[in-house]
Symmetry: C2
Subunit: 263 residues, 2 copies
């Protein structure tokens, strides 16, 4: 039993019960519900949580690739996180999320790989400079753009490229910039960052100014920040930016299995 | 037995023998040897080859993430490609490459996930325009920049950002542009494209103008092109471009397990 009054909704969603080493059970929560399943970002964060909760964990996250293989349905799920290769300073993970299918057999709904590593201080520089934008206080918090509960679990303050006000096929760019943080506020960690990486609505909607069925099929997150840098952010805002590079023929049919418009 | 006189080195490197559905044996080849193991791109292509050779394959590649977990040693290896989830138009794969370790037990050297899908024609546009550069004939073929056999398996014609002539810490950009194709010429396919995605030398070398031990730890390739577009390229040159976004504290120690300079 968890006390909803004292646990943050993100930590509540990330609650996993260890069945045996590397095998966890969890369940979907209302706070991160999307339209027909959980917000993809919370699924990504949950898979990472299984890695970080594993007794054999080495280091901190370096990269995470999550493939949304099928719909996650409401209720319980099983996460398996396996450290398939552990080196002196790096560790390689294969992770899956399973739920019982219609026939009772377990169906893999999500696959992932992750690399964790002991980070060391070396030469460093960023060639992705912070854009010159006003501070978060200069921008209004956006109302939820569509009816999904998870949108209320983030405080989003769009700087540019907010959801089109009218769907008139007038789009010419897919760049979105926003200030964002968990709502209610919560100190940033790798799990929160994994979830935040998926807060962007489909680039296609903005580029076309046309709302068509679309969903994330695969997302890769590289964690350039280390633990100390995340601690410095605390519960403050993050600047987030997304831009589509290519919009092309792709697969469709099943919601949550597509990265492009429905034909 | 393969006839070296009639098979292209890439097809030779991609030769897999099916042991049972989804389990293949292959071996490293001289043509794609790097310094202490095979070129990472050929490993990526080999894992994709196992997917494409699987009797249950659905569609064409959409995305491929390869994590280089440990050194691949010279000789035989086993590739396991498992379609863990097949939907109506998308299929999700987990792939591993294993070799016997020092104690004889099988060690996972590479992990990967892939998404394949039946592509359909939809609205499309590219927001990554082709830069205005002269045709391949305007640029000299580069001599192998360092002593690795695999470099001779590509015809690389650098446009900009070639390997620094002197290592004097004078770097200020990590952008490299080049025309590239297989050597000898070979019609482009998804496997060749997967390998080509890894032809760039470490961005760090260019950005610092300093050659430090570095290797690929994780690479994700998104296949925006479809089968027909690849056929149009044929054995012609591809324009390839790479740029580093961030150089930071990262893990090191083992060559091929690092994405950043040695401390």
């Amino acid at each position: 039993m968890t006390n909803q009054a004292t646990i943050h909704p993100l930590d509540d969603a990330l609650l996993l019960e260890a069945r045996e080493p590397g095998i966890f059970t969890g369940r979907t929560t209302h706070a991160y519900w999307n339209m027909v399943g959980p917000f993809g970002g919370i699924t990504a964060a949950t898979l990472l949580q299984a890695v970080l909760a594993h007794p054999q964990l080495l280091g901190d996250p370096l990269s995470l690739t999550v493939n949304f293989a099928g719909a996650v349905t409401e209720g319980a799920f099983t996460v398996k996180a396996t450290p398939v290769r552990t080196n002196r300073s790096t560790q390689h993970w294969i992770i899956t999320l399973e739920q019982p299918g219609p026939d009772g057999q377990m169906l893999i709904a999500t696959t992932a790989t992750a690399v964790t590593a002991v980070r060391r201080a070396t030469w460093g520089v960023t060639d992705t400079p912070m854009p010159q934008v006003e501070s978060p206080g200069h921008f209004e918090r956006a109302e939820p753009a569509f009816r999904s509960q998870w949108l209320s679990s983030y405080e989003m303050r769009p700087v540019s490229g907010n959801l089109p006000a009218v769907w008139d096929d007038s789009g010419d760019s897919s760049l979105s910039q926003l200030w964002v943080r968990d709502a209610p506020e919560r100190p940033l960690d790798f799990q929160a960052l994994a979830a935040l990486s998926d807060v962007f609505y489909p680039r296609l909607w903005l580029r076309r100014a046309r709302q068509v069925p679309a969903g994330t099929v695969s997302i890769t997150t590289y964690f350039h920040a280390n633990r100390e840098q995340l601690a410095t952010v605390g519960s403050g805002f993050l600047f987030a930016q997304a831009k589509g590079r290519n919009f092309a023929m792709a697969s469709v049919i099943r919601r949550h299995n597509c990265g492009a418009p429905k034909a």
